[in-house]
């Protein structure tokens, strides 16, 4: 569904991504992990069609990504960015409704309102609709934006095919239960046939939900395999430059990793 061929991104003289090549089929949840500055967000921006690669090619559903207009892309993929700020005092309801505004669908105002309220309930923000989004706590705000993104993307698959959900550190401000809730929603989307690419820092959380993990280092792919293989291998220790202790959880399941206590 999504193919990258020798994709490169430069910032000035410096190469911050690539060359990377891989293909992602629909119906999976792919976790991207790696140290700060490894190029995870940059990669996600390329997948979103936001940063055009300066070398190589990105193909989305068999077509060159560059051929998609912004509005056509908005109907096929949604993005939750790493950092978000709302410039004006919008209500939570209004922010979530922006998900419907960008790519207009044939919905009445009443249908939209019903969906927005249902979505707020899904992200555990029932009753937050009339709050000023600028006064929410960090985690509440992150969930409000998740609701917006889920409203934009809608069903995981429609008559034109599967859709793409890109999440850049969606749980960075969330408490442990809401972390699990959020990744469950992402996994549901993948189970229904969509493709989810999610950047995460918590290796164990990533391993419990992902079908496949991509470990990045200095803009390149260091490892691209299933979670158990990744966490059992030594590349993680090398890439993060810290020795890990592994707690085995039985055959077929990825181990729990934790850095050596000092």
């Amino acid at each position: 569904m999504l193919e990258l061929d020798a994709v490169e991104v430069l910032a000035g003289e410096r190469r911050i991504l690539g060359p990377v090549s891989f293909g992602l089929p629909a119906g999976g949840l792919v976790a991207i992990v790696g140290p700060n500055g490894a190029g995870k967000s940059t990669l996600l921006k390329v997948l979103a069609g936001e940063t055009p690669p300066m070398g190589g090619e990105v193909r989305f559903q068999g077509e060159d990504m560059a051929a998609f207009s912004a509005s056509r892309l908005a109907r096929r993929r949604a993005v939750l960015s790493q950092s978000l700020e709302v410039a004006f005092p919008f209500t939570v309801f209004e922010v979530v409704s922006l998900g419907f505004d960008g790519a207009p669908r044939a919905l009445t105002a009443g249908q939209k309102a019903a969906r927005i309220e249902a979505m707020l309930e899904r992200v555990d923000l029932a009753g937050f609709g009339s709050r000023n989004v600028q006064t929410l706590s960090g985690g509440e705000r992150q969930r409000a934006h998740l609701a917006r993104v889920l409203c934009q993307i809608g069903e995981a698959v429609d008559e034109e095919g599967p859709k793409l959900l890109l999440l850049d550190e969606p749980v960075s401000s969330l408490d442990i239960r809401h972390q699990v809730d959020t990744l469950r929603m992402a996994r549901d989307f993948a189970r229904e046939g969509g493709l989810v690419v999610v950047v995460l820092h918590d290796l164990n959380l990533a391993a419990s939900f992902a079908d496949r993990m991509i470990l990045m280092r200095n803009g390149r792919i260091a490892e691209d395999c299933d979670p158990a293989a990744l966490l059992n291998g030594q590349t993680v220790d090398e890439v993060f430059a810290i020795a890990m202790t592994r707690i085995d959880r039985g055959p077929g399941r990825p181990p729990v990793v934790m850095p050596h206590a000092v």
Binding site: A70, S71, S81, P89, T91, D101, S130
Partner: protein, 354 residues
Amino acid sequence: MLRGAANGDRAAAERMTLAVLAGLLLLVAVVAIGVGPSGLSPDRVVALLAAGPGTDRFPVSESIIVWQIRLPRVLMGAIIGAALAVAGATLQGLFRNPLADPGLVGVSPGAALAAVAVIVLGNGILAPLVQPLGIFALPIAAFVGALLSTFLLYTIATRGGRTSVATLLLAGIALGAFSGAITGFFLFLSDDDQLRDITFWTLGGLGGTTWLKLFACGPIMLAAVLASPVLARGLNALTLGESEAFHLGLEVQRMKTLAIVLVAGAVGASVAAAGIIGFVGIIVPHLLRLAVGADHRFLLPGSALLGAALLVLADALARTVAAPAELPIGIITAAIGAPFFLWLLLRRRGLLGV
């Protein structure tokens, strides 16, 4: 908690506010047409308007006062107020900052500079350009001046798709000062007649508005105001940032260009018509955001209506406070606007706790 329906959907309250504002504008306009030396009661104004120009059912003097003097002036005030408030709301959305104002960020001084250049050089070096344009030379020059300033400002303050607010305000001040310096230089070059015209530009005023002037400057502003709702969804998405606006399906660069042209048109034509009138663009959208909502589908038309009503009111004050003399309207809006702006800054400071 923001006011509105319990679920946070403020659309109904916003529609209601628009209706109320439209009513308010009509009321203020009728009262303002009646105000001045030889005042007329509102019902007399309505009757005179209903009778049409050149009627013989009323004294000719009254008909002329309403149709030839006050009506074009009030219409001009309304259009300028609407254009400035919409330009303010649009700039604020574009820069993602509630403090952006065409006057503060150097757009109006740029337009004024171009207008003054036309006044002073219109019979000299610029004659080949200015003469064929006739009465349209001033609005077009002011439009081009505003367009250049807006574009320059945007380029200076934006880097890597992000607009720095500090740079924006500082660059705006610098740009305004620079435009002011060159305007001062033209002042130095000008003769007595030109000097009087220039003083008028820099203070701002609606005195001497004629139908002709209204037809020369009004259409550009009206077009900008009427076109502004096209930007509403884009400005809403831009509230989250440029990346998010793109993710939501917006052709960001196209809409930014459209917004810049719209602001330049609205501000340029308003400066050509009445000189620099400050603070309307900052007060009006801010009040509406504070009291009703920030959704641009409401904010743009709401700003147009409230801006129109406020400027018509300010002009009525300008005509009466020092009667029989007239104050330049720019003095009134600055006298009300500047303290309001300070209050806004203090309130923000309080909120940030610094």
